[in-house]
């Protein structure tokens, strides 16, 4: 969203520049000659193209939003007794929102530290050869379709996690999220979250790696020259510089985790909202839509689209929150 605004702003700025250049009244022949160079035409074409690109993004976004709102309206306006088997829309959507957010949050909790660690290893610790190979592997991981991750989760990861879940529920069962009895198939929200984590790790890692590599040599050397160890140098120069980038990377990952459909639909044996992560139950919005869409029609279709609208709003809110977090530290960002 914000990127769109940036792009249009840049495009209009470009147009302003060319406008003032050609408008300057006192410009004598030489300046006019300068502005009527070949480059000026190219500049106009480019600023037009940039403006169009920015506009397309806005148009698509608005079109999607309008579609969602229009199609969701019947479900929101209809008598609540007709929605979701008489449950009503809000009671229906609330557990899904909670399930979605919990699954994404756990996925990020697992993925973020691992990704930052892997990215730092690639950018600052590994020998050049190894870091190149690792970089390729990470990019390859990002290209694996989600249905493959889902299949892997259901046929390998879920059964493999069952003994762990049994142990967790016996050792830490007094904590509600680890309450037993654990699922015998391992098809739980925690398994789904772990699969999601595996899926977002490559995204967060490759964005973080790029940003870590862009840390100015100047600042790294400043830290080293003060007698910093490599880890202290990373804490002093690399991580502060990369902070907004890390947040953006995590947001990208979050976007994928919130919207991921196939893997969750395959891995999670869904049910009503429950506190325990080790029992089957819970559901996410995206998986709910995917599972029910083929048979939905009429008002139940509107209900699913309304659920999609809610997911859209959740994602947007999370992104705005992240932007706000980044902008709070603008003064110290090093951009000035």
């Amino acid at each position: 969203m914000t990127r769109t605004v940036h792009e249009t702003a840049r495009a209009t700025k470009g147009r302003d520049l060319t406008a003032t250049e050609t408008k300057t009244p006192e410009s004598p022949g030489r300046l006019r000659a300068l502005s009527s160079r070949q480059g000026a035409a190219g500049d106009k074409v480019f600023s037009g193209a940039a403006l169009a690109a920015g506009a397309i993004i806005l148009v698509v976004l608005v079109a999607v939003a309008v579609f969602l709102v229009v199609q969701a309206m019947p479900a929101l306006l209809a008598p609540q007794s007709q929605i979701a088997n008489g449950e009503g829309f809000w009671p229906y959507i609330f557990p899904l929102v909670v399930g979605t957010i919990i699954a994404a949050a756990i996925a990020l909790l697992i993925a973020t530290p691992i990704s930052i660690g892997v990215a730092l290893f690639i950018s600052h610790y590994a020998p050049r050869r190894l870091s190149q190979i690792l970089g390729y592997i990470i990019d390859l991981l990002a290209a694996i379709p989600s249905v493959i991750f889902g299949a892997w989760g259901i046929s390998f990861l879920a059964p493999a996690l069952v003994p762990g879940y049994t142990w967790l529920s016996s050792a830490l069962g007094w904590i509600p999220i680890f309450a037993g009895p654990p699922s015998a198939t391992g098809k739980t929200l925690l398994t789904a979250s772990i699969v999601l984590a595996v899926m977002v790790i490559p995204i967060i890692t490759s964005v973080c790696r790029e940003i870590f590599l862009q840390t100015p040599k100047l600042h790294e050397e400043a830290a080293l020259a003060l007698g910093a160890t490599r880890w202290e140098m990373i804490r002093m120069a690399v991580l502060p510089f990369a902070r907004p980038g890390i947040i953006s990377a995590v947001m990208l990952g979050l976007g994928r985790a919130l919207g991921e459909t196939m893997a969750v639909a395959l891995v999670l044996s869904s049910g009503p909202l429950i506190a325990s992560l080790l029992q089957s139950g819970n559901q996410t919005i995206a998986a709910e839509i995917a599972l029910n869409f083929p048979e939905a029609s009429g008002l139940s279709l509107n209900t699913l689209i309304a659920a999609g609208l809610v997911l859209f709003i959740v994602t947007l809110a999370v992104n705005l929150l992240a932007r706000w977090v980044i902008s709070r530290h603008k003064e110290f960002s090093g951009a000035n």
């Binding site: 400043a222 830290a223 020259a225 502060p240 110290f332």
Partner: protein, 259 residues
């Protein structure tokens, strides 16, 4: 505080490429020594070997000895991290940490080496370091503002304050004024003159007037041609180098008949 540096037969390699060959030099404590010479002659490379900063580049290594009051910086078991906390460095372009306030910039190195500081100790270090860098009066009211908001010259003095806050024995400066305007340059040069009362200062400069103004002794480095190693040609009192050099190459360089 300040210590003398004795370099014996130092060769610097990048991989298999010999960048600097056979440098021997004795630098007295509490003095300013300038390294001059054409670009690419290895003076910056050599400077970096005095606090092992060249090791940041993969494949860089040295042969020979660098003694800091008799202790070999390259002896076995010597940690480069420890070396750098004794031999500070100021770079060509001012590089305060952009995400830190002025105060945190000054304290950056202290927090590394000394661990935790009480609030009053920290305030004392900040004030004395900034005073030592002739910056205190300009920034005392905005210590919590980002260091990147200062002017270039102020940023460079902030970097000097950051370096002296660690209480090093030696301060290395790699063309510290080349990115500064003449007035800021003057401020930094005045500062260098004051610093030599407490520290051993080694400065690389392209500006010969600067070398003449600030240094007690001057070393002239030269290179025979591209791909050849840089060498120390002549090392003497600054007045001798500029007025009465022994070597023809030195005379050509300082009188501007070269390069």
């Amino acid at each position: 505080m300040s210590k003398r540096i004795d370099v014996k037969d130092l060769n610097v390699y990048y991989g298999n490429f010999l960048a600097v060959e056979g440098v021997s030099i004795n630098i007295a404590a509490r003095s300013v020594t300038a390294f001059i010479g054409p670009s690419g002659c290895g003076k910056s490379t050599f400077l970096r070997t005095l606090n092992r900063m060249h090791e940041v580049l993969p494949g860089a290594r040295v042969e020979g000895q660098v003694l800091l009051d008799g202790d070999d910086l390259y002896g076995s078991g010597v940690d480069p991290v420890a070396v750098r906390s004794h031999v500070g460095m100021v770079f060509q372009r001012p590089n305060p940490f952009p995400t830190m306030s002025i105060r945190d910039n000054v304290l950056a190195g202290v927090k590394l080496n000394g661990g935790r500081l009480s609030k009053s100790d920290a305030q004392e270090v900040v004030e004395s370091s900034l005073k030592g860098a002739n910056l205190w009066n300009e920034v005392k009211d905005r210590l919590d503002k980002p260091g990147s908001g200062l002017s270039g010259g102020q940023q460079q003095r902030l970097c000097i304050a950051r370096a002296i806050a660690v209480k090093p024995d030696v301060i290395l400066m790699d063309e510290p004024c080349s990115a500064l305007d003449p007035i800021s340059t003057l401020a930094v040069e005045d500062l260098i003159n004051e610093l030599k009362e407490r520290y051993t200062v080694v400065i690389v400069t392209h500006n010969m007037q600067q070398a003449a103004r600030v240094s007690d002794k001057t070393a002239f480095f030269n290179i025979a041609g591209t791909g050849k190693p840089g060498k120390l040609i002549e090392y003497a009192d600054t007045t001798t180098i500029f007025n009465n050099p022994k070597e023809k190459a030195t005379e050509d360089y300082v009188s501007g008949r070269f390069g």
